[in-house]
C-alpha cells in the first residue's frame, strides 16, 4: 500500500517485467526444457562462460540495475568462482543459444546473452519467492535466498496484513513499502526542530487532510528555531568545514591570544543565505556582511540577523580594527573575501593556491587533492611565483589550480613579502583588503615574474577577470547547487545518495537552481518529500 501523495515508484527502465501470465510462462518454460532435453546437447563447459565482457553486456541489458551503477556488474552476479556458476548463472547458461555448438565464440555469446538473461527474468533461481528480474531491479542477489528485496514483496505482504488487521500502520507502525508520511513528520520534527514530536502533534498530523501542507508548516516553524538557525545550530554547524574556525586566532568577542580575524561574520552570512528564501548564491556573491543580535554569538536576541553594508573605513570606525571587514564593496565575493577567509587561507602567500583550493572544495565540492574538478588550461601552469610547478607530476593539477588561483592574488592575507607597512595611505597596505599592487612586495620572496601574475583566471573552463567574477561563475554553476544540496542530503539522510536515489537527488539540485530559485528552505521542503527521506 502506498501513500496516495507519494511519488510513483518507478521500476528501472531496463527492468520492465514482461507481462506473461503464469500459465504462459509455465508453458514456455516447459517447452524450452523439453527442447533442451530433446537436442541431447552435452553440458556446457564452464570455460565457455566466464567471459570478461559479460558484465558489460549484462549492464547493457539492465542499465538501471543497482549492480551496474558506475561499473560493470560484479562477476558474482552469475558466478561463484569464475568460471563456476551460481544458480542464477546456471539458469542463464541453460537458456543461452540452445542448439549452438559449444564452446560458443565470444561474438555468439555476447549476441545471445541478452535473450538468455531475459529468458530467466521471471524465474526464481534462488527459490526465495522473488523473481530474478525483481531482484536485479532492487539490487538484491538473484542467486542468494538470504538476499531479498523489500518492495517487490511489500504489496503482497501488506495486502495480507490489511485483510487481517485492516490497517498496516497499526500492525508495524511504519510503512516500509512507500512514502510514510507520519514517519517523515516524526523524522522532520527531530531533524529540523531538534526534538521528538508529541503524541498530540503526531495525531493532529495523521488526521490532517493536507499532510503536505502540514509538513511544510512544521518546517516553516522549525526554520525559525534556535535549533536550526541559532549559534551552534544546524545551519551554523553546516558552515564549519567552510569556515574552519580556530579560537586561538579569533578577534572580537572571546578573542584568542593572537586575535587576527573574527569568524562570526562568516557564520552569520552563511546562515543568512540559507534562510527565509534568501538567494544561497550570495555565499559567493554578497557585497555585504551580516551581524547577529548585538554582534556576539552568545547573547539574547541571537536569532536576529541584520545585513550590514559598510565600507572598510566605516566598519573600522564602527567595530575597530580587530573586527572590521577591510575589502571594499566592489571587490567583495561573499564568504571568499571575508576577513576570516583571507586570514586563514591567503595568510602570507603571493599566489594563494590554498585559498582557491578551499573555495573550490568548500563551495563547489571539488577537491583537487583528490583529482576532482580538473579542467586543465592550455599552457598552464606558468609558475609565476617560481614554485617549480611545471614538473610533470605537479603540472597535472596545477594546470587547473593555478589559473583558478590568480584572481585571489590581489587580496591581502595577514601580510607577507618584503617591505611596506600596515596602515592607510601611500606606501602602506591593509591586511585582508583588495590591493592591486600587492604582488610587488613578493618579488624578493617569489621571484621577479610574480608581479606578472594575471588577475584573470579560469574557473570550470570559463575565463574570469577577477575574484568577483569567479564568485559569480561559481555560484551559477551546477557544481555549486549540487554541493549545497548534497550537504543537506547527507545531513538529513545520513549518507550520499545511493544509486537508486540518484534520480531524486539530481532532480533536487536541478530544481534548486530553477524551481526553488536558490532558496534552501524551498529545496528542503522538496527534500522531505523524497522517497529517500520518507520511506523507512
Amino acid at each position: 500500500m502506498r501513500h496516495p501523495s507519494s511519488p510513483p515508484r518507478r521500476r528501472p527502465s531496463g527492468l520492465r517485467r514482461p507481462r506473461i501470465s503464469g500459465l504462459a510462462a509455465a508453458q514456455t518454460l516447459t517447452l524450452l526444457t523439453l527442447a533442451t532435453l530433446a537436442t541431447g546437447l552435452p553440458p556446457l563447459t564452464p570455460a565457455a562462460w566466464a567471459i570478461p565482457e559479460a558484465p558489460v553486456e549484462f549492464c547493457r541489458t539492465y542499465p538501471d540495475a543497482p549492480a551496474c551503477a558506475g561499473a560493470p556488474a560484479p562477476c558474482g552476479t552469475c558466478h561463484t568462482t569464475p568460471p563456476n556458476r551460481n544458480s542464477y548463472g546456471a539458469a542463464v547458461a541453460a537458456k543461452l543459444a540452445p542448439g549452438v555448438e559449444r564452446p560458443l565464440s565470444k561474438e555468439v555469446f555476447l549476441l545471445r546473452l541478452p535473450e538468455a538473461l531475459h529468458a530467466v527474468d521471471e524465474a526464481d533461481s534462488d527459490q526465495d519467492g522473488v523473481s530474478n528480474v525483481e531482484e536485479l531491479a532492487a539490487g538484491s542477489l538473484p542467486h542468494d535466498p538470504d538476499s531479498r528485496p523489500t518492495y517487490p514483496v511489500c504489496d503482497a505482504v501488506q495486502e495480507r496484513a490489511v485483510k487481517r488487521f485492516g490497517d498496516t500502520d497499526q500492525v508495524w507502525g511504519y510503512n516500509v513499502c512507500g512514502y510514510d508520511a507520519v514517519y517523515a513528520f516524526k523524522k522532520a520534527t527531530l531533524d529540523f526542530c531538534g526534538r521528538s514530536a508529541t503524541r498530540a502533534e503526531i495525531a493532529s498530523y495523521a488526521a490532517s487532510d493536507n499532510r503536505e501542507a502540514a509538513l511544510a508548516a512544521l518546517l516553516d516553524s522549525c526554520f525559525d528555531s534556535e535549533w536550526w538557525q541559532g549559534p551552534d545550530g544546524v545551519l551554523w554547524n553546516l558552515a564549519n568545514t567552510r569556515i574552519e574556525p580556530i579560537a586561538s586566532v579569533k578577534s572580537g568577542d572571546d578573542a584568542g591570544p593572537i586575535p587576527l580575524a573574527d569568524y562570526l561574520d562568516d557564520y552569520n552570512l552563511f546562515v543568512w543565505t540559507q534562510i527565509d528564501g534568501h538567494d544561497a548564491r550570495d555565499l559567493l556573491t554578497a557585497d555585504y556582511f551580516v551581524e547577529r543580535g548585538d554582534g556576539t554569538k552568545k547573547t539574547a536576541g541571537s536569532l536576529k540577523l541584520t545585513v550590514v553594508k559598510r565600507n572598510p573605513i566605516e566598519d573600522y570606525q564602527k567595530r575597530g580594527f580587530g573586527k572590521a571587514q577591510l575589502v571594499d564593496f566592489s571587490y567583495r565575493a561573499g564568504m571568499i573575501t571575508a576577513r576570516w577567509f583571507l586570514m586563514q587561507y591567503v595568510m602570507f602567500t603571493a599566489v594563494p593556491r590554498t585559498a582557491a583550493a578551499q573555495a573550490y572544495r568548500a563551495y563547489l565540492g571539488l577537491d583537487i587533492a583528490r583529482m576532482e574538478g580538473l579542467h586543465s588550461v592550455a599552457g598552464e601552469p606558468l609558475d609565476w611565483d617560481a614554485k617549480d610547478v611545471k614538473r610533470p607530476e605537479c603540472a597535472s593539477c596545477h594546470a587547473t589550480l593555478d589559473p583558478l588561483t590568480y584572481p585571489f592574488s590581489r587580496y591581502e592575507g595577514i601580510g607577507g613579502g618584503v617591505g611596506g607597512s600596515v596602515g592607510f595611505g601611500p606606501g602602506k597596505y591593509l591586511p585582508y583588503s583588495y590591493n592591486p599592487s600587492r604582488l610587488e612586495r613578493f618579488v624578493k620572496t617569489d621571484g621577479p615574474k610574480v608581479t606578472e601574475t594575471p588577475e584573470e583566471g579560469v574557473l570550470l573552463g570559463q575565463k574570469v577577470k577577477d575574484l568577483v567574477a569567479w564568485g559569480k561563475v561559481a555560484a551559477n554553476s551546477d557544481a555549486f547547487a549540487r554541493k549545497l544540496v548534497l550537504d543537506y542530503w547527507q545531513l538529513l539522510i545520513g549518507e550520499p545518495p545511493r544509486p537508486s536515489e540518484m534520480g531524486e537527488f539530481n532532480q533536487l539540485w536541478q530544481d534548486f537552481k530553477t524551481t526553488h530559485k536558490y532558496s534552501v528552505e524551498a529545496m528542503l521542503k522538496a527534500l522531505v518529500r523524497t522517497e529517500a527521506y520518507g520511506v523507512p
Binding site: 523489500t150 511489500c154 497499526q170 531538534g194 580556530i246 523507512p536
Partner: protein
C-alpha cells in the same frame, strides 16, 4: 528491544543487568524479527503481533545525538534541560563533557567540525550516563515529594496490596513520556515482572522505599536507552 548497559559506577549496578533481562530480551522471536525488519516495530497494545515482517529496503536508523536526546529526556521527565546531567555537579554532560562522543562538534578549539562518522567507544557509556542521571533525578524528586510527583507518584505511595497496579501505571507512563506511545501488553508485563527481579537482587535489608526508588530509576533507564528512544 536490545539494551546497552555499561554502568559500573551505579549504586545499584547489579540491578542494571537485571533490567536487560527483564525488559529487553523477553522474546527471542521478536528480537530476531526486529533485527530483520530493519525498522522499529510496534505491534500495538491489543493486536496479535504479526510474524510476517517486511524488511526495510533502506534501513537508515540514526542515533539522535546528544542534544536531541537531552531535549527529549528533559521534556519526557519534566526536568530543566540545564540540570539534566552535570559532571562533578558543574559541567554539562551533553553540551560539554561528552559532546563529541554524543555526536556533537567542537570546531573552535578541538577542530572537530563534523560529527564522528561512527559512534566512539565511549558513546554508549555517555548515553547511559545521561539517561541514568536524568532518571535518577526524576525518581529522587518524585520519591522525596510524592505529592507533587510527575512520574512515580503511584509507586512511591504504593503498598504491597496496590503495588502491581502502581507498577502497571508506571510502565504505561514511562512509555507514554519517553516513547510517546502506549506500552503493549508484553512491554508492561516485562516492567511489572522486573519488580520481583529487582527485589531479589536488592541488597539484604534494603527497605521497600529504597527498592521502589531504585526500581523507578532503572525502569526509566531501560526505556530511555531503548533503540526506539535513542534512534530515529
Amino acid at each position: 528491544m536490545r539494551r546497552r548497559v555499561v554502568a559500573g559506577w551505579l549504586r545499584a549496578a547489579a540491578l542494571v543487568g537485571v533490567v536487560v533481562f527483564a525488559t529487553g530480551c523477553g522474546d527471542d522471536k521478536d528480537s530476531d524479527t526486529d533485527k530483520d525488519a530493519g525498522a522499529e516495530v510496534d505491534t500495538g497494545p491489543a493486536k496479535e503481533p504479526s510474524r510476517e515482517m517486511v524488511r526495510s529496503n533502506r534501513p537508515r536508523v540514526r542515533f539522535k545525538g546528544g542534544r536531541r536526546m537531552a531535549t527529549d529526556l528533559a521534556t519526557a521527565l519534566n526536568l530543566p534541560r540545564g540540570e539534566l546531567c552535570k559532571e562533578l555537579g558543574k559541567f554539562d554532560c551533553v553540551d560539554f563533557v561528552h559532546n563529541v562522543a554524543l555526536g556533537g562538534v567542537e570546531p573552535y578549539e578541538l577542530g572537530v567540525r563534523e560529527p564522528l562518522d561512527q559512534a566512539s567507544v565511549t558513546t554508549p557509556i555517555a548515553v547511559d550516563r545521561v539517561a541514568l542521571a536524568a532518571c535518577g533525578q526524576r525518581a529522587k524528586l518524585d520519591f522525596d515529594t510524592p505529592e507533587s510527583a510527575f512520574l512515580f507518584g503511584d509507586l512511591a505511595a504504593a503498598t504491597d496490596a496496590t503495588r502491581e497496579a502502581a507498577l502497571k501505571v508506571t510502565a504505561n507512563r514511562l512509555y507514554d513520556q519517553l516513547l510517546r506511545r502506549d506500552a503493549n501488553v508484553d512491554e508492561t508485563a516485562a516492567l511489572v515482572a522486573f519488580w520481583d527481579t529487582a527485589k531479589a537482587a536488592a541488597a539484604k535489608g534494603a527497605d521497600s522505599a529504597t527498592l521502589a526508588r531504585d526500581y523507578a530509576t532503572l525502569a526509566c533507564f531501560a526505556v530511555a536507552t531503548s533503540e526506539e528512544a535513542l534512534f530515529y
